[in-house]
Symmetry: C2
């Protein structure tokens, strides 16, 4: 029994996934016509077009990704490049959901491309570009002078960065206004009579470190408060390190009476450190912290919080890359998200 007698496409019966050939056979048209009809090409008759599209819908035709990709080079893939050590848990989760929300009704798939501490952050990007694995890339942990952004720009690969760069090059980004955040935080603390402030910064090399530090500094002089330097940790440090350093700091005579934290996880450690030093939150010191989910007020209601929406960031970044892929001006695909006001615990 030679199964090859019944060639695929000669019969329209099978359980095989329908292809253009199947569709062509069913409609009695040529493969080319079917292909063009499905993408609303102008040189296809109105009725034919409708007929093809109807049949395609009926039998659940889905273009074969490999076929399209091989022929056109279009992968229909967006890659999210993540650091496996230093990204915040909430960031990973929320940004992924934000991205998938946007690409849900597009043909795009999301692939996650990780890199670890030991690697050059450029490695995964280089891999993606060299192998042509994605039509667009989203990167985080953006630096003022970011080799990844430069590389992708040079290679003509659409991308969006979480955080801005400062290279005089224009590209899509989404950023949270950390300058405003730090400023608001300082003012909120000043309003509570705090005037010796410390800042737990973002990781030092990243762009938003600068924005945070500048917002902090400018607001300090605006309200006439002073800085208590606390440069031994950033939010990239471990819980234990932050906790220990905070305890050290808070045991000093010149300890701050207000602390600003750039991440919720760090804040847990900061508060623990404060309490290790025998001090009480809200009495001896106030803390303003960014958070990305409503968790800190359950932790200590004395905390002051500012919300950063990572899901929004994911959506914006996805929209930006897709926009660039679709031919929009990169310069028009930049967004900055204003911080919420500084929120105290509300019953």
């Amino acid at each position: 029994m030679d199964r090859r007698v019944t060639k695929k496409g000669d019969d329209a019966s099978g359980k095989e996934r329908p292809t253009l050939k199947t569709l062509a056979f069913m409609t009695g048209l040529g493969v080319t016509t079917v292909s063009r009809a499905l993408k609303d090409a102008p040189e296809i008759g109105a009725e034919t077009r409708r007929r093809v599209q109807l049949v395609a819908k009926q039998i659940g035709y889905r273009p074969n990704r490999a076929g399209v990709r091989l022929r056109t080079g279009k992968t229909n893939v967006i890659s999210l490049v993540l650091n496996t050590e230093h990204e915040l848990m909430s960031f990973v989760s929320d940004i992924i959901y934000g991205v998938t929300e946007v690409i849900a009704d597009t043909p795009y798939h999301l692939i996650v491309t990780p890199y670890s501490r030991s690697q050059d952050p450029l490695d995964p990007v280089r891999y993606l570009v060299e192998t042509g694995s994605a039509d667009g890339v989203i990167i985080s942990r953006t630096q003022p002078n970011d080799p990844r952004a430069r590389y992708m720009l040079e290679h003509g690969v659409p991308f969006a960065t979480h955080g801005r760069t400062d290279m005089g090059l224009v590209h899509p980004y989404h950023d949270f206004d950390n300058y405003a955040f730090a400023g608001e935080a300082v003012r909120a603390l000043a309003a509570k009579g705090r005037n010796r402030l410390a800042l737990v910064t973002p990781p030092v090399g990243l762009t938003y470190f600068r924005y945070t530090v500048n917002g902090f500094a400018d607001a300090l002089s605006e309200v006439g408060a002073s800085e208590v330097p606390f440069n031994t940790v950033s939010i990239d440090h471990t819980i234990e390190q932050i906790r220990m350093r905070t305890a050290q700091l808070m045991r000093r005579d010149d300890r701050p009476d207000g602390i600003i934290s750039s991440a919720a996880a760090a804040t847990l450690a900061i508060v623990a450190g404060i309490e290790d030093a025998g001090l009480k939150l809200g009495r001896d010191v106030d803390v303003v912290s960014k958070q990305s989910s409503e968790v800190l007020h359950l932790f200590r209601r004395e905390l002051l919080v500012v919300n950063e929406d990572f899901r929004l960031a994911g959506s914006e970044l996805a929209r930006a890359v897709l926009g660039w892929i679709a031919g929009k001006e990169p310069g028009s695909l930049q967004s900055l998200s204003k911080p919420s006001e500084v929120l105290p615990y509300r019953g």
Copy 2:
């Protein structure tokens, strides 16, 4: 000037990505030979094989994924199917990193396939199978009678589940021993003299709900403690709901003196509810909670914790799917992770 004179592959100069044709031209061999040489086929001479592989390495040849996929149907993709509303943040982040760790030095890519509350959980799986978008699938939120597992089994698609099923069908899984967890938790509370215990369960339909409930019930009768029913919430509920219901519960005369929580986020809410009711953790009630990162002891040091490692889960699941794809017996790709002991705060 007709650029087509210089056909691709006729010259080995270009910046174009090398293909088998490039390699064939450079080595002076046929495309077929090169292809076979690269995969160590037996009918290729030892020297030829070495020569081809050397050249391939030198010029950084990478097989074109679309070509392979079109020809063989192999996608080299693993898909992780996630619920965009109900997965824990830490779960998403850790499991992704666990998976990527394992597939890092394989040709596999990880794609994230989301589905939302409104959708049938079977939808994304059906999509993946119908479009042949992945060689293997990882699902979570596994149910005793899981239509997704059944569907993939019927369609011959390798997969692994986070959590077990109970359909008499054998497939790879990784699970945390929630029966043991609940038992240990009960015993730890009993050891502190607590004997009226409440359980904040996993989501009701999922398999690990049963294991948790059974472990709880068996240990209760073992230590002679009694259950205070608390069926109005599960860890799928919002922080606010859990908090409110817990406060309600704790204001009753027959309130529990011990609570077991299946997730860290829920525990934050439970503690808030306890304190809303004017009670004190560690004095009026003890709480044992699962957590996936060291966060709860910063929150309240009176908490008792059990650690569940989601990164490990991710790695195990990835290993399991890859194993199945590679032809191993599905029954040999099952693993159960024992809970850590119940840990009090240690300085």
